[in-house]
């Protein structure tokens, strides 16, 4: 118990750790909130796709500027991510290709092109570009203070936009045709929502890596869906789950040497997911089993009564 307190104290007192914990928490909060909309619009794997499109963006940003800096990389990744979402929309709206295949196409071709660019840069070899791909593998613990502050700021902004446009986003994900009919600029809103997902993903990549960033968006949202029927509550819960996962990730990885923050956060989110699947008040396994048993019971008297009638 004293060990636990000591470690929590350490987390609270070490300024660097504190920043990382705060950053991971805000990251979890904002991606959890935005993830709800992606989930409801059946675009759960959009996060995964956008994360992979970041690679060519980063490479091009480096080729153009020649500097290795986080803001430049983030900008390149955001531009590439938006290009990716537009490409998906073009493919699905102008051909018979379905959304899942369009995402697969964009994911792999962007990443493939990114690898080509990356290897070309590496083979041109003047040494200064080593570590270009480090951005992709996510090392929250090695982030410096300014990186964390940038990420935290971006996340706060995302959460704020999400809260302000709650009503519009809700309508758009529930009934886009109605939203259009009611005079909302659905095209712009849709673009904004996609842009939020892109920014959330790019902010998350450096903390948890390309592969795992998708989890920050989906896992809390799916978990929250097991507890409520209301979108507002779902977003709050999802944000909470995300924040808790981020905090747990930062804390546990600070306690065990060599444990990376990102994967631990993802595993914390997965644990919350499992608990929700089992005990969620809506569709949770326990609840479902109980109601099914109750319904079978309520059927039994009727069945035995009808049998009695037949016998009589």
């Amino acid at each position: 118990m004293t060990g636990l307190w000591a470690s929590i104290e350490a987390l609270a007192s070490d300024p660097n750790l504190r920043w990382i914990a705060l950053g991971c928490m805000l990251l979890g909060l904002s991606s959890g909130m935005i993830g709800c909309f992606a989930y409801l619009r059946r675009q759960s794997l959009m996060g995964d796709t956008i994360a992979h499109t970041a690679l060519p963006g980063i490479c091009v940003a480096f080729l153009l500027t020649g500097v290795k800096s986080l803001p430049v990389f983030m900008l390149g990744a955001v531009v590439a991510g938006i290009a990716g979402t537009l490409a998906i929309r073009l493919i699905t709206s102008r051909s018979r290709i379905k959304a899942d295949a369009a995402m697969g196409i964009v994911l792999s071709s962007f990443f493939g092109i990114g690898i080509v660019l990356l290897t070309m840069i590496q083979h041109s070899g003047d040494g200064s570009q080593s570590g270009l791909d480090k951005f992709l593998f996510g090392q929250a613990a090695s982030m410096v203070g300014s990186d964390v502050r940038l990420m935290a700021g971006v996340c706060l902004l995302l959460a704020a936009v999400c809260t302000l446009l709650f009503k519009e986003f809700k309508l758009l994900s529930f009934d886009p045709a109605f939203a259009k009919g009611a005079g909302f600029p659905t095209g712009l809103l849709d673009f904004m929502m996609q842009a939020l997902v892109v920014v959330a993903v790019v902010a998350g990549i450096q903390a948890v890596g390309v592969v795992l960033v998708a989890a920050l968006l989906i896992t809390p949202a799916v978990s929250a869906r097991f507890w409520t029927e209301r979108l507002g509550r779902m977003i709050l819960l999802s944000g909470l789950f995300g924040a808790v996962s981020g905090l747990l990730g930062a804390w546990i990885s600070s306690q065990v040497s060599q444990l990376p923050t990102g994967p631990v956060s993802v595993l914390a989110a997965a644990a919350i997911f499992l608990l929700s699947v089992a005990f969620g008040s809506r569709k949770g396994l326990v609840v479902v089993a109980l109601t099914r048993r109750g319904m079978r019971r309520s059927l039994e008297p009727a069945a035995s009564a009808s049998k009695a009638k037949e016998a009589g």
């Binding site: 209301r230 099914r292 079978r296």
Partner: protein, 290 residues
């Protein structure tokens, strides 16, 4: 009197006095979706050679009834038997026409090929469809007036034509008992007429057809018997006896007919996930069930 009616009259004379063989027996079938009963204690038996309509408001469990009889969705209890055997044992004698929306019409295949799929059950595990299956499929397409569209990509067919392809596929199954889920939904007048003729021809051949139907106005004209369903069986029997105003009122909870169907169509859609939509569905079913 046209040929079909004559045949039907003939059959009635022959069958008079002789009890008809029961081909489908459903006993105490119950299913649930989450904590809501979709079907409760559904029991009925269908004699050979009848056209049976299943009618009821949206959300009454009509499609679910067919699917649970066929073992396509899990049930809470009860059983179904066809030709005195379990459904699994009788599958080769059962034909099924799913709702048209249940498949992806962009699938890379043509009409004839879809019809040939009806033969897959009879081909067994390893045999491939050959010339014989092709001939049967063409014959079935002809039966629904679609032979000219045999090589047409299925997405290029109109809704009515797609429905006819599905019916031809059911014919290709060469079954004795058919289940059809909303075959009349969204089809043109010509197709509706073709379907009705097909149903009568099936009946003349001694087949039994159970149809989920939504157009109350045509029930007496098209069907011999009707099953009024709203979670439980509200009424079942020959159309003349069971299809009464009183029974309809009980089934539809006072909101009879086309207005109810329209509201239902508006409220349906994706049933599961987005939270607000869920509420809309619940409200509707609360009103519809009574």
């Amino acid at each position: 009197m046209n040929a079909y009616e004559e045949a039907a009259a003939d059959r009635d004379i022959q069958d008079a006095g002789k009890p008809k063989r029961i081909v489908l027996e459903v006993a105490g079938l119950s299913t649930a979706y989450r904590n809501r009963s979709v079907l409760r204690e559904v029991t009925f038996a269908v004699p050979e050679g009848e056209l049976v309509a299943i009618v009821g408001p949206n959300g009454a469990g009509k499609s679910t009834l067919i699917k649970s009889i066929l073992g396509l969705t899990p049930t809470l209890g009860g059983e179904a038997k066809a030709f005195g055997e379990t459904i699994d044992a009788a599958r080769k004698r059962i034909g099924y026409v799913p709702q048209r929306e249940s498949v992806d019409w962009d699938f890379p295949t043509h009409a004839l090929d879809v019809v040939m799929m009806g033969r897959y059950g009879r081909l067994g595990w390893f045999r491939r469809p050959g010339r014989k299956e092709r001939a049967v499929a063409l014959e079935c397409l002809r039966g629904v007036g679609m032979e000219a569209f045999a090589e047409r990509q299925i997405s290029e067919l109109s809704g009515g034509q797609q429905q006819r392809v599905f019916l031809a596929r059911a014919l290709a199954q060469d079954a004795d008992l058919y289940f059809m889920d909303e075959p009349f939904a969204g089809v043109d007048a010509a197709t509706e007429k073709a379907i009705v003729e097909l149903l009568r021809k099936l009946r003349a051949d001694g087949k039994t057809v159970i149809v989920v139907h939504h157009d109350l106005a045509t029930v007496p004209e098209y069907f011999d018997s009707v099953l009024l369903l709203n979670v439980t069986v509200q009424a079942f029997g020959p159309t003349a006896k069971a299809f009464t105003e009183e029974n309809l009122h009980r089934t539809y909870g006072g909101r009879i007919g086309f207005a109810g169907a329209g509201a239902a169509a508006a409220a349906s859609g994706r049933q599961d996930d987005p939270a607000p939509r869920q509420d809309a569905v619940h409200t509707f079913q609360g009103g519809g069930r009574l």
